[in-house]
Protein backbone atom coordinates (compact mmCIF):
# COMPACT_ATOMS: atom_id res chain seq x y z
CA UNK A 1 0.00 0.00 0.00
CA UNK A 2 1.23 3.43 -0.89
CA UNK A 3 0.02 6.75 0.32
CA UNK A 4 0.25 10.39 -0.56
CA UNK A 5 -0.31 13.79 0.95
CA UNK A 6 -2.45 15.56 -1.62
CA UNK A 7 -4.94 17.45 0.49
CA UNK A 8 -5.16 18.67 4.06
CA UNK A 9 -8.41 16.70 4.10
CA UNK A 10 -6.39 13.46 3.76
CA UNK A 11 -5.35 13.87 7.38
CA UNK A 12 -7.51 12.69 10.25
CA UNK A 13 -7.16 14.47 13.57
CA UNK A 14 -4.87 11.71 14.85
CA UNK A 15 -2.75 11.95 11.69
CA UNK A 16 -2.45 15.72 11.96
CA UNK A 17 -1.53 15.60 15.63
CA UNK A 18 1.03 12.90 14.90
CA UNK A 19 2.61 15.19 12.31
CA UNK A 20 2.67 18.08 14.80
CA UNK A 21 4.19 15.97 17.58
CA UNK A 22 6.78 14.53 15.19
CA UNK A 23 7.63 18.00 13.90
CA UNK A 24 8.17 19.12 17.48
CA UNK A 25 10.88 16.46 17.86
CA UNK A 26 12.35 17.34 14.48
CA UNK A 27 12.60 20.98 15.48
CA UNK A 28 14.98 20.21 18.32
CA UNK A 29 17.41 18.92 15.70
CA UNK A 30 18.09 22.51 14.66
CA UNK A 31 19.85 23.07 18.01
CA UNK A 32 22.27 20.16 17.59
CA UNK A 33 25.77 20.32 16.19
CA UNK A 34 25.02 17.62 13.63
CA UNK A 35 21.72 18.45 11.96
CA UNK A 36 21.22 15.07 10.41
CA UNK A 37 19.14 12.00 11.10
CA UNK A 38 19.58 8.67 9.34
CA UNK A 39 15.89 7.82 8.87
CA UNK A 40 15.67 8.17 5.06
CA UNK A 41 19.16 6.98 4.14
CA UNK A 42 19.09 5.52 0.65
CA UNK A 43 15.70 6.99 -0.25
CA UNK A 44 15.32 9.43 -3.09
CA UNK A 45 13.10 12.49 -2.93
CA UNK A 46 12.43 14.39 -6.14
CA UNK A 47 11.37 18.02 -5.96
CA UNK A 48 9.32 18.54 -9.08
CA UNK A 49 8.55 22.23 -9.41
CA UNK A 50 6.57 23.45 -12.38
CA UNK A 51 6.01 26.83 -10.71
CA UNK A 52 8.45 29.22 -9.11
CA UNK A 53 9.01 28.83 -5.42
CA UNK A 54 11.75 29.85 -3.03
CA UNK A 55 10.58 28.93 0.43
CA UNK A 56 8.78 25.69 -0.28
CA UNK A 57 11.44 24.13 -2.49
CA UNK A 58 14.34 25.05 -0.22
CA UNK A 59 12.34 23.91 2.77
CA UNK A 60 11.60 20.49 1.26
CA UNK A 61 15.20 20.17 0.13
CA UNK A 62 16.56 20.96 3.60
CA UNK A 63 14.01 18.61 5.18
CA UNK A 64 14.91 15.68 2.93
CA UNK A 65 18.64 16.26 3.35
CA UNK A 66 18.43 16.46 7.13
CA UNK A 67 16.80 13.05 7.03
CA UNK A 68 19.69 11.75 4.87
CA UNK A 69 17.58 11.24 1.74
CA UNK A 70 19.05 11.87 -1.69
CA UNK A 71 17.43 14.90 -3.27
CA UNK A 72 16.93 15.57 -6.96
CA UNK A 73 15.66 19.02 -7.87
CA UNK A 74 13.71 19.30 -11.03
CA UNK A 75 12.35 22.65 -12.07
CA UNK A 76 10.42 23.54 -15.19
CA UNK A 77 13.00 26.04 -16.29
CA UNK A 78 16.12 24.41 -17.65
CA UNK A 79 14.52 21.00 -18.11
CA UNK A 80 12.77 19.26 -20.96
CA UNK A 81 9.52 20.65 -19.59
CA UNK A 82 10.33 23.93 -21.26
CA UNK A 83 10.70 21.97 -24.50
CA UNK A 84 7.12 20.78 -24.28
CA UNK A 85 7.41 17.47 -22.44
CA UNK A 86 4.18 16.35 -20.80
CA UNK A 87 3.60 15.65 -17.11
CA UNK A 88 3.24 11.98 -17.98
CA UNK A 89 6.62 11.69 -19.69
CA UNK A 90 8.28 13.59 -16.88
CA UNK A 91 6.67 11.25 -14.38
CA UNK A 92 7.83 8.18 -16.28
CA UNK A 93 11.37 9.55 -16.24
CA UNK A 94 11.21 10.01 -12.48
CA UNK A 95 9.84 6.52 -12.06
CA UNK A 96 12.70 5.13 -14.13
CA UNK A 97 15.14 6.91 -11.81
CA UNK A 98 13.59 5.24 -8.79
CA UNK A 99 12.12 8.12 -6.82
CA UNK A 100 10.60 7.15 -3.46
CA UNK A 101 8.75 10.42 -3.09
CA UNK A 102 7.82 13.15 -5.52
CA UNK A 103 7.19 16.58 -4.09
CA UNK A 104 5.21 18.38 -6.74
CA UNK A 105 4.26 22.01 -7.27
CA UNK A 106 2.16 22.74 -10.31
CA UNK A 107 0.18 25.68 -11.64
CA UNK A 108 -2.78 23.48 -12.46
CA UNK A 109 -5.12 22.47 -9.64
CA UNK A 110 -5.22 18.69 -9.41
CA UNK A 111 -1.85 17.95 -11.03
CA UNK A 112 -0.50 16.11 -7.93
CA UNK A 113 -3.75 14.15 -7.78
CA UNK A 114 -3.29 13.10 -11.40
CA UNK A 115 0.31 12.13 -10.73
CA UNK A 116 -0.65 10.05 -7.70
CA UNK A 117 -3.58 8.23 -9.26
CA UNK A 118 -2.43 7.80 -12.85
CA UNK A 119 -0.26 4.77 -12.20
CA UNK A 120 2.69 6.55 -13.83
CA UNK A 121 4.73 6.53 -10.65
CA UNK A 122 4.89 4.18 -7.70
CA UNK A 123 6.33 6.76 -5.32
CA UNK A 124 4.55 8.75 -2.65
CA UNK A 125 3.30 12.08 -3.95
CA UNK A 126 3.40 15.16 -1.74
CA UNK A 127 1.46 18.18 -2.91
CA UNK A 128 3.63 21.28 -2.55
CA UNK A 129 0.95 23.57 -3.98
CA UNK A 130 -1.31 23.01 -6.96
CA UNK A 131 -2.87 26.00 -8.68
CA UNK A 132 -5.51 27.61 -6.49
CA UNK A 133 -6.38 24.28 -4.88
CA UNK A 134 -4.29 23.10 -1.94
CA UNK A 135 -0.97 23.40 -0.15
CA UNK A 136 -1.18 20.91 2.72
CA UNK A 137 2.35 21.21 4.12
CA UNK A 138 1.90 24.99 4.39
CA UNK A 139 -1.26 24.37 6.39
CA UNK A 140 0.63 21.94 8.61
CA UNK A 141 3.41 24.40 9.32
CA UNK A 142 0.88 27.15 10.01
CA UNK A 143 -1.00 24.85 12.37
CA UNK A 144 2.30 23.86 14.00
CA UNK A 145 3.21 27.51 14.56
CA UNK A 146 -0.21 28.22 16.10
CA UNK A 147 -0.01 25.07 18.18
CA UNK A 148 3.35 26.16 19.62
CA UNK A 149 2.08 29.65 20.46
CA UNK A 150 -1.57 29.08 21.32
CA UNK A 151 -1.93 25.39 22.02
CA UNK A 152 0.87 24.75 24.53
CA UNK A 153 2.12 22.01 22.18
CA UNK A 154 -0.50 19.65 23.53
CA UNK A 155 -2.90 17.34 21.67
CA UNK A 156 -6.15 19.23 21.18
CA UNK A 157 -4.32 22.49 21.84
CA UNK A 158 -6.08 24.32 19.02
CA UNK A 159 -9.58 23.29 20.10
CA UNK A 160 -11.85 26.32 20.02
CA UNK A 161 -9.11 28.75 18.98
CA UNK A 162 -10.29 31.44 16.57
CA UNK A 163 -8.27 31.92 13.43
CA UNK A 164 -8.91 34.73 10.94
CA UNK A 165 -7.61 34.22 7.40
CA UNK A 166 -7.70 37.52 5.56
CA UNK A 167 -7.33 38.51 1.94
CA UNK A 168 -7.31 36.84 -1.44
CA UNK A 169 -9.04 33.62 -0.48
CA UNK A 170 -10.23 33.07 -4.03
CA UNK A 171 -6.76 32.43 -5.41
CA UNK A 172 -5.30 30.96 -2.25
CA UNK A 173 -4.42 27.29 -1.93
CA UNK A 174 -3.11 28.15 1.54
CA UNK A 175 -6.53 29.33 2.71
CA UNK A 176 -8.28 26.17 1.59
CA UNK A 177 -5.75 23.80 3.14
CA UNK A 178 -5.67 25.82 6.34
CA UNK A 179 -9.45 25.93 6.60
CA UNK A 180 -9.66 22.14 6.23
CA UNK A 181 -6.80 21.31 8.57
CA UNK A 182 -7.69 23.81 11.29
CA UNK A 183 -11.26 22.52 11.30
CA UNK A 184 -9.87 18.98 11.72
CA UNK A 185 -7.86 20.23 14.69
CA UNK A 186 -10.94 21.81 16.26
CA UNK A 187 -10.21 25.48 15.59
CA UNK A 188 -12.80 27.97 14.37
CA UNK A 189 -11.84 29.62 11.11
CA UNK A 190 -13.19 32.89 9.77
CA UNK A 191 -12.33 33.90 6.23
CA UNK A 192 -12.29 37.65 5.70
CA UNK A 193 -12.26 39.04 2.17
CA UNK A 194 -14.13 41.31 -0.18
CA UNK A 195 -17.06 39.42 -1.79
CA UNK A 196 -15.20 39.29 -5.09
CA UNK A 197 -12.28 37.40 -3.52
CA UNK A 198 -14.31 34.63 -1.88
CA UNK A 199 -14.66 31.50 -4.03
CA UNK A 200 -17.95 30.15 -5.33
CA UNK A 201 -19.18 27.36 -3.08
CA UNK A 202 -17.65 28.83 0.07
CA UNK A 203 -20.90 27.90 1.89
CA UNK A 204 -19.72 24.31 1.74
CA UNK A 205 -16.44 25.02 3.55
CA UNK A 206 -16.30 24.40 7.31
CA UNK A 207 -15.78 28.11 8.02
CA UNK A 208 -17.45 31.41 8.80
CA UNK A 209 -17.04 34.27 6.36
CA UNK A 210 -17.00 38.00 6.86
CA UNK A 211 -16.47 41.13 4.79
CA UNK A 212 -15.63 43.20 7.86
CA UNK A 213 -12.03 42.88 9.08
CA UNK A 214 -12.46 45.28 12.00
CA UNK A 215 -15.31 43.18 13.36
CA UNK A 216 -13.27 39.98 13.32
CA UNK A 217 -9.87 41.12 14.61
CA UNK A 218 -10.69 41.68 18.32
CA UNK A 219 -11.87 38.08 18.71
CA UNK A 220 -9.08 36.35 16.79
CA UNK A 221 -6.29 34.30 18.42
CA UNK A 222 -4.28 34.28 15.21
CA UNK A 223 -4.54 36.43 12.11
CA UNK A 224 -3.20 35.09 8.85
CA UNK A 225 -2.76 37.61 6.06
CA UNK A 226 -2.79 36.38 2.47
CA UNK A 227 -1.02 37.91 -0.48
CA UNK A 228 -3.15 39.38 -3.25
CA UNK A 229 -2.19 37.11 -6.14
CA UNK A 230 -2.21 39.59 -8.98
CA UNK A 231 -0.52 37.12 -11.34
CA UNK A 232 -3.67 35.00 -11.18
CA UNK A 233 -6.06 37.94 -11.55
CA UNK A 234 -7.55 38.88 -14.87
CA UNK A 235 -10.13 41.52 -14.12
CA UNK A 236 -11.19 44.03 -11.52
CA UNK A 237 -11.59 42.29 -8.19
CA UNK A 238 -11.30 45.57 -6.29
CA UNK A 239 -11.13 49.21 -7.42
CA UNK A 240 -7.60 50.13 -6.40
CA UNK A 241 -4.74 48.69 -4.36
CA UNK A 242 -5.09 51.59 -1.95
CA UNK A 243 -8.73 50.88 -1.30
CA UNK A 244 -7.95 47.19 -0.77
CA UNK A 245 -5.21 48.07 1.73
CA UNK A 246 -7.48 50.43 3.59
CA UNK A 247 -10.25 47.86 4.03
CA UNK A 248 -8.36 44.58 4.21
CA UNK A 249 -4.74 45.43 5.00
CA UNK A 250 -3.26 44.93 8.46
CA UNK A 251 -1.61 48.11 9.73
CA UNK A 252 -0.46 49.34 13.13
CA UNK A 253 -3.85 50.77 13.99
CA UNK A 254 -5.65 47.51 13.30
CA UNK A 255 -2.93 45.57 15.13
CA UNK A 256 -3.76 47.60 18.25
CA UNK A 257 -7.25 46.01 18.23
CA UNK A 258 -5.83 42.51 18.71
CA UNK A 259 -5.78 40.62 21.98
CA UNK A 260 -2.43 40.51 23.78
CA UNK A 261 -1.66 36.90 22.86
CA UNK A 262 -2.76 37.11 19.23
CA UNK A 263 -0.12 36.26 16.64
CA UNK A 264 0.19 37.59 13.11
CA UNK A 265 1.08 35.17 10.33
CA UNK A 266 1.77 35.30 6.61
CA UNK A 267 2.58 32.36 4.35
CA UNK A 268 4.84 34.52 2.18
CA UNK A 269 5.81 36.03 -0.11
CA UNK A 270 4.63 39.27 1.50
CA UNK A 271 3.83 42.44 -0.35
CA UNK A 272 4.64 45.04 2.29
CA UNK A 273 2.31 47.98 2.11
CA UNK A 274 -0.43 45.97 0.40
CA UNK A 275 -1.92 43.35 2.71
CA UNK A 276 0.43 44.03 5.63
CA UNK A 277 2.46 47.08 6.64
CA UNK A 278 6.14 46.85 7.47
CA UNK A 279 5.65 47.80 11.14
CA UNK A 280 3.22 44.89 11.59
CA UNK A 281 5.38 42.41 9.68
CA UNK A 282 8.39 43.32 11.84
CA UNK A 283 6.51 43.56 15.15
CA UNK A 284 6.77 41.22 18.13
CA UNK A 285 3.46 39.62 17.22
CA UNK A 286 4.69 38.57 13.83
CA UNK A 287 5.74 34.90 13.61
CA UNK A 288 6.43 35.05 9.89
CA UNK A 289 10.11 34.12 10.09
CA UNK A 290 9.33 31.38 12.58
CA UNK A 291 6.84 29.92 10.09
CA UNK A 292 9.71 29.38 7.68
CA UNK A 293 11.84 27.67 10.35
CA UNK A 294 8.92 25.47 11.32
CA UNK A 295 8.38 24.61 7.67
CA UNK A 296 11.54 22.52 7.61
CA UNK A 297 10.56 20.61 10.76
CA UNK A 298 7.03 19.96 9.51
CA UNK A 299 8.24 18.74 6.12
CA UNK A 300 10.76 16.47 7.83
CA UNK A 301 7.88 15.05 9.82
CA UNK A 302 5.78 14.50 6.69
CA UNK A 303 8.61 12.85 4.75
CA UNK A 304 9.55 10.69 7.73
CA UNK A 305 5.98 9.55 8.34
CA UNK A 306 5.42 8.80 4.63
CA UNK A 307 8.77 7.16 3.85
CA UNK A 308 10.40 6.20 7.15
CA UNK A 309 8.76 2.83 7.66
CA UNK A 310 7.54 -0.05 5.58
CA UNK A 311 4.33 1.83 5.02
CA UNK A 312 3.24 5.40 5.68
CA UNK A 313 1.84 6.40 9.04
CA UNK A 314 -0.26 9.26 7.68
CA UNK A 315 -1.93 10.44 4.51
CA UNK A 316 -4.66 9.43 2.11
CA UNK A 317 -4.83 6.01 0.56
CA UNK A 318 -4.40 5.52 -3.10
Amino acid sequence: MKRHLLSAADLSRDDAELVLATADEMRSLADRPIKKLPALRGRTVVNLFFEDSTRTRISFEAAAKRLSADVINFSAKGSSLSKGESLKDTALTLEAMGADAVVVRHGASGAPHLLAHSGWVRSSVVNAGDGTHEHPTQALLDAFTMWKHLGESKPGGLEGRRIAIVGDVLHSRVARSNALLLRTLGAEVTLVAPPTLLPVGIEGWPVETSYDLDGVLPKADAVMMLRVQRERMHGGFFPTAREYSRRYGLDGKRMAMLQDHTIVMHPGPMVRGMEITADVADSDRSVIVEQVTNGVAVRMAVLYLLLGGSEPAVGGEE
Partner: protein
Protein backbone atom coordinates in the same frame (compact mmCIF):
# COMPACT_ATOMS: atom_id res chain seq x y z
CA UNK B 1 -4.45 -28.24 15.97
CA UNK B 2 -2.25 -26.00 18.08
CA UNK B 3 1.38 -25.84 16.98
CA UNK B 4 2.56 -25.48 20.54
CA UNK B 5 1.23 -27.57 23.42
CA UNK B 6 0.74 -24.47 25.61
CA UNK B 7 -0.72 -22.24 22.93
CA UNK B 8 -4.30 -22.54 24.05
CA UNK B 9 -3.55 -22.21 27.73
CA UNK B 10 -4.03 -18.95 29.57
CA UNK B 11 -0.83 -16.84 29.54
CA UNK B 12 0.99 -17.29 32.80
CA UNK B 13 2.35 -14.28 34.56
CA UNK B 14 4.61 -14.09 37.56
CA UNK B 15 6.13 -11.16 39.34
CA UNK B 16 9.92 -11.33 39.45
CA UNK B 17 10.60 -7.89 40.93
CA UNK B 18 8.11 -6.05 43.14
CA UNK B 19 8.20 -2.38 44.14
CA UNK B 20 10.67 -2.99 46.97
CA UNK B 21 12.98 -5.04 44.75
CA UNK B 22 13.00 -2.31 42.11
CA UNK B 23 13.79 0.39 44.67
CA UNK B 24 16.65 -1.64 46.13
CA UNK B 25 18.03 -2.47 42.68
CA UNK B 26 18.01 1.19 41.65
CA UNK B 27 19.68 2.24 44.89
CA UNK B 28 22.42 -0.32 44.34
CA UNK B 29 22.88 0.75 40.70
CA UNK B 30 23.16 4.38 41.83
CA UNK B 31 25.92 3.50 44.28
CA UNK B 32 27.71 1.37 41.71
CA UNK B 33 27.65 4.23 39.21
CA UNK B 34 29.13 6.58 41.82
CA UNK B 35 31.74 4.07 42.85
CA UNK B 36 32.78 3.35 39.28
CA UNK B 37 32.85 7.05 38.38
CA UNK B 38 34.51 8.05 41.67
CA UNK B 39 31.75 10.58 42.35
CA UNK B 40 29.13 12.35 40.30
CA UNK B 41 31.45 14.69 38.41
CA UNK B 42 30.83 14.87 34.65
CA UNK B 43 28.02 12.32 34.86
CA UNK B 44 25.07 12.60 32.48
CA UNK B 45 22.18 10.15 32.73
CA UNK B 46 20.19 9.52 29.55
CA UNK B 47 17.09 7.36 29.70
CA UNK B 48 15.88 5.57 26.59
CA UNK B 49 12.13 6.21 26.16
CA UNK B 50 9.76 5.26 27.28
CA UNK B 51 10.60 3.42 30.53
CA UNK B 52 14.30 4.18 30.60
CA UNK B 53 13.42 7.81 31.29
CA UNK B 54 11.70 7.39 34.68
CA UNK B 55 14.44 4.94 35.67
CA UNK B 56 17.12 7.51 34.81
CA UNK B 57 15.25 10.13 36.85
CA UNK B 58 15.04 7.84 39.87
CA UNK B 59 18.73 6.99 39.68
CA UNK B 60 19.51 10.71 39.37
CA UNK B 61 17.44 11.44 42.50
CA UNK B 62 19.34 8.83 44.49
CA UNK B 63 22.71 10.09 43.26
CA UNK B 64 21.67 13.64 44.17
CA UNK B 65 20.70 12.57 47.68
CA UNK B 66 24.05 10.84 48.20
CA UNK B 67 26.25 13.49 46.59
CA UNK B 68 24.26 16.55 47.61
CA UNK B 69 23.97 18.06 44.14
CA UNK B 70 21.95 17.33 41.01
CA UNK B 71 23.27 15.37 38.07
CA UNK B 72 22.06 16.20 34.55
CA UNK B 73 19.40 13.80 33.34
CA UNK B 74 17.72 13.62 29.94
CA UNK B 75 16.27 11.27 27.37
CA UNK B 76 17.51 9.82 24.10
CA UNK B 77 15.05 8.59 21.48
CA UNK B 78 16.52 5.95 19.22
CA UNK B 79 13.58 5.43 16.84
CA UNK B 80 15.29 6.78 13.74
CA UNK B 81 18.45 4.78 14.42
CA UNK B 82 16.72 1.41 14.69
CA UNK B 83 17.88 -1.24 12.26
CA UNK B 84 14.30 -2.44 11.78
CA UNK B 85 12.91 1.01 10.92
CA UNK B 86 12.08 -0.12 7.39
CA UNK B 87 10.41 -3.33 8.48
CA UNK B 88 7.46 -1.76 10.26
CA UNK B 89 5.13 1.18 9.63
CA UNK B 90 6.64 4.58 10.44
CA UNK B 91 6.69 4.98 14.19
CA UNK B 92 5.96 8.03 16.28
CA UNK B 93 9.05 9.70 17.70
CA UNK B 94 9.62 9.94 21.42
CA UNK B 95 11.22 12.89 23.17
CA UNK B 96 14.97 13.48 23.08
CA UNK B 97 16.11 15.93 25.72
CA UNK B 98 19.80 16.54 26.03
CA UNK B 99 20.71 18.42 29.26
CA UNK B 100 21.95 21.99 28.64
CA UNK B 101 25.61 21.11 29.33
CA UNK B 102 25.61 18.63 26.43
CA UNK B 103 27.50 15.35 26.46
CA UNK B 104 30.92 16.36 25.14
CA UNK B 105 33.63 15.26 27.56
CA UNK B 106 31.05 13.74 29.92
CA UNK B 107 30.49 10.21 31.13
CA UNK B 108 27.11 9.23 29.72
CA UNK B 109 25.16 6.51 31.47
CA UNK B 110 22.45 5.11 29.21
CA UNK B 111 19.51 3.78 31.18
CA UNK B 112 16.97 1.29 29.85
CA UNK B 113 14.47 -1.07 31.38
CA UNK B 114 15.26 -4.39 29.68
CA UNK B 115 18.44 -5.48 27.90
CA UNK B 116 17.56 -8.16 25.36
CA UNK B 117 19.00 -8.37 21.82
CA UNK B 118 21.25 -5.35 22.34
CA UNK B 119 19.94 -3.69 19.18
CA UNK B 120 18.36 -0.78 21.04
CA UNK B 121 21.69 0.01 22.68
CA UNK B 122 23.50 -0.23 19.34
CA UNK B 123 21.00 2.34 17.99
CA UNK B 124 21.51 4.51 21.07
CA UNK B 125 25.29 4.51 20.54
CA UNK B 126 24.74 5.68 16.96
CA UNK B 127 22.34 8.39 18.15
CA UNK B 128 24.88 9.57 20.73
CA UNK B 129 27.51 9.88 18.03
CA UNK B 130 25.37 12.49 16.27
CA UNK B 131 24.95 14.52 19.45
CA UNK B 132 28.48 14.70 20.79
CA UNK B 133 31.55 12.86 21.99
CA UNK B 134 31.38 11.60 25.56
CA UNK B 135 34.60 10.41 27.20
CA UNK B 136 32.83 7.19 28.08
CA UNK B 137 29.43 5.57 27.66
CA UNK B 138 28.12 3.13 30.25
CA UNK B 139 24.93 1.12 30.34
CA UNK B 140 22.55 0.61 33.25
CA UNK B 141 19.52 -1.68 32.92
CA UNK B 142 16.90 -2.83 35.37
CA UNK B 143 16.69 -6.31 33.86
CA UNK B 144 19.11 -8.26 31.70
CA UNK B 145 17.15 -11.11 30.15
CA UNK B 146 19.93 -12.49 27.94
CA UNK B 147 19.66 -13.56 24.27
CA UNK B 148 22.09 -10.95 22.97
CA UNK B 149 22.40 -10.61 19.20
CA UNK B 150 25.23 -8.07 19.30
CA UNK B 151 28.46 -7.83 21.33
CA UNK B 152 26.97 -5.51 23.96
CA UNK B 153 26.83 -5.89 27.73
CA UNK B 154 25.57 -3.80 30.62
CA UNK B 155 27.82 -2.18 33.23
CA UNK B 156 25.12 -1.97 35.87
CA UNK B 157 22.35 -4.56 36.13
CA UNK B 158 19.38 -4.55 38.48
CA UNK B 159 18.63 -8.22 37.99
CA UNK B 160 19.88 -10.93 35.68
CA UNK B 161 16.81 -12.82 34.56
CA UNK B 162 17.28 -16.03 32.59
CA UNK B 163 14.36 -16.27 30.18
CA UNK B 164 13.24 -18.33 27.25
CA UNK B 165 12.58 -16.61 23.94
CA UNK B 166 8.83 -17.25 24.07
CA UNK B 167 8.50 -15.40 27.36
CA UNK B 168 7.86 -11.69 27.61
CA UNK B 169 9.37 -9.48 30.26
CA UNK B 170 7.07 -6.64 31.18
CA UNK B 171 8.30 -3.68 33.19
CA UNK B 172 5.77 -1.37 34.78
CA UNK B 173 6.86 1.77 36.57
CA UNK B 174 5.02 4.39 38.60
CA UNK B 175 4.62 7.55 36.58
CA UNK B 176 4.10 5.65 33.34
CA UNK B 177 1.99 2.82 34.77
CA UNK B 178 -0.02 2.44 37.93
CA UNK B 179 2.42 0.14 39.72
CA UNK B 180 6.11 -0.74 40.11
CA UNK B 181 6.62 -4.33 38.96
CA UNK B 182 8.57 -6.57 36.62
CA UNK B 183 6.67 -9.61 35.43
CA UNK B 184 7.39 -12.50 33.12
CA UNK B 185 4.55 -13.56 30.87
CA UNK B 186 4.47 -16.58 28.65
CA UNK B 187 4.21 -20.30 28.44
CA UNK B 188 7.74 -21.06 29.53
CA UNK B 189 8.85 -24.67 29.94
CA UNK B 190 9.84 -24.06 33.55
CA UNK B 191 6.23 -23.10 34.24
CA UNK B 192 5.00 -26.31 32.68
CA UNK B 193 7.59 -28.45 34.42
CA UNK B 194 6.78 -27.06 37.80
Amino acid sequence: MPAHPYEESVPLSRVVLDAGDITRALTRISHEILERNKGADDLVLLGIPSRGVPLARRIAERIASVEGHDVPVGSLDITMYRDDLRLKPARALLPTEIPPGGIDGKVVVLVDDVLFSGRTIRAALDALGDIGRPTAVRLAVLVDRGHRELPIRADFVGKNLPTSLVERVKVRLLGVDDVDAVTIEGFGPQEGAR
